[in-house]
Amino acid sequence: MTLAPAHVAGAGMIRFGKYPADVTLEKMAVGAARAALTDAGAELPHIDAVYVGHVFGGPVAGQRIAAQLGLDGRPVSNHENYCASGATALREAWVALAAGLHDVALVIGVEKMTDRVSGGVRPDPGDLDAAVGYVMAAGHGLSARRYMADHGATREQIAAVAVKNHAHSVHNPFAHYQRPIGLDEVLSARPIAEPLGLLDCSPISDGAAAMVLCSPAGLRRLGLTTSVPRMLGCALVSGSVRPGTGDVNEEDVSLRAAEEAWKLTGVGPGDIDLVEMHDCFTIAEIVRMEGLGLIPRGEGASWTEAGHTSLGGRLPVNPSGGLLSRGHPVGATGVAQACELTWQLRGTAGARQVEGARVGLSYCKGGTVNGTDGGSVTTLVMAR
């Protein structure tokens, strides 16, 4: 089934990073929303509905934001799918536009983390994995150890993901980190969940990103004639209960998310010019790219080392710097990825531009559930 695409009229972000306490969740969201509205040339009365992705924002954060923004009274919904919350909000807005319910939707992803999360994120305390000491970094340490054993990948090849993504975000004014790092720096960083160290992990960040999505009627309302770019669709799948003792890096959940995306959008893996990938940890970028079928199984680490996933390479991954370097305010990440795709497909990404980009994919994975291969996974496809 193919639904009508959503037109991206505007995209906006605030820089990700660590903000003081008085820069509240609401303030950050309003800042990103105003940037997206300005980019779209939209006024407040143009907006039909507000979709907000967040995890730690508390009850009705979206309505608190709308009341600061001047969009009080509208339909506002809050979307929680852990690190895929922002992408899930985009998906729900796209579905509402395609259904004809709304014509202009404002989507906001936002998270205030640095004042409420320390030492890393973990599953819900009621989950059995959490009870035995699982933290997110540990899951990726287990994945990396096995990937190295099964595919002969080196620690250096996995660390190369961090070096690449930090090199990319030197050119991203919205990135938490904007300085290059060396391989030695990654390898000698203090260990977090071996074999992964501090620079293999995305940081705890604050931030917000927003988009204005339109139906064709919505574009006319805003006085826009161009339809560049279009969000062709966003698939959503969940991890499945996986009996047995198979490959922990099989990434069946990513494979299913890819197949859903191709089915929803009519785009195929060969059409993808760039990827914004959920690199919450270095190894995650590698195994998820393989799971999507965009890199052959077992070759993700060597591809990274060879520069195939760098700007100018065969398939650039995370020109924005990704979660590792742009930062990872969890509810904001999916919307920030879509902002980056927008700028790349408009050809306005400056020194991090992927030349000739026509179709981009962004991937989010949120949360873990004991016995499954993940919580939520989204695959969003955008085309110019």
Binding site: S118, R122, D129, G141, L142, S143, R145, G371
Partner: protein, 138 residues
């Protein structure tokens, strides 16, 4: 002497204490074994013919990590591993009795009980982990 409530598993139906065994579920239709026990079979999706089953206490390390940073309240470092059991079940658990740098993929381990917490009445809640080596308590 005040009555002391008996020790019990930190979650009902997860394990038995004497002898220490993890409790899973087994599907009589397709023989798929699950841990923890589920009310459906993840292999064939049957919801009837699911029975409790004791899992082997001996297994081997499929993969492992040494956790050196965790949120407040969790003492580090500790070894966390996926342990594969002969029933075709993979269990996530901490591994004891071995220095972190000595753990390897394939290391034989066996189940042991560990203090988890106390309930409101002061009874010990018991959890599980695996100890390096192949010796098994009867």
């Amino acid at each position: 002497m005040p009555a002391v409530a008996a020790a019990r598993p930190f979650r009902e139906g997860l394990l038995k204490l004497a002898p220490p065994r993890l409790l899973g579920s087994r599907c009589d239709r397709c023989a798929t074994v699950s841990f923890p026990a589920r009310e459906f079979c993840p292999g064939c999706r049957a919801v009837d013919a699911i029975a409790e089953t004791e899992l082997s206490p001996a297994g081997s390390v499929y993969s492992f990590t040494v956790v050196r940073q965790a949120p407040p309240g969790i003492a580090v470092p500790y070894v966390l591993a996926y342990v594969d059991l002969p029933e075709g079940v993979r269990v996530l658990a901490q591994v004891s009795g071995v220095a972190p740098e000595e753990v390897t993929i394939g290391l034989p381990v066996h189940l042991e009980l560990t203090a988890f917490d106390q309930d409101a009445e002061g009874a010990d809640l018991v959890g599980y982990r695996f100890r390096a080596g192949s010796e098994v308590a009867a």
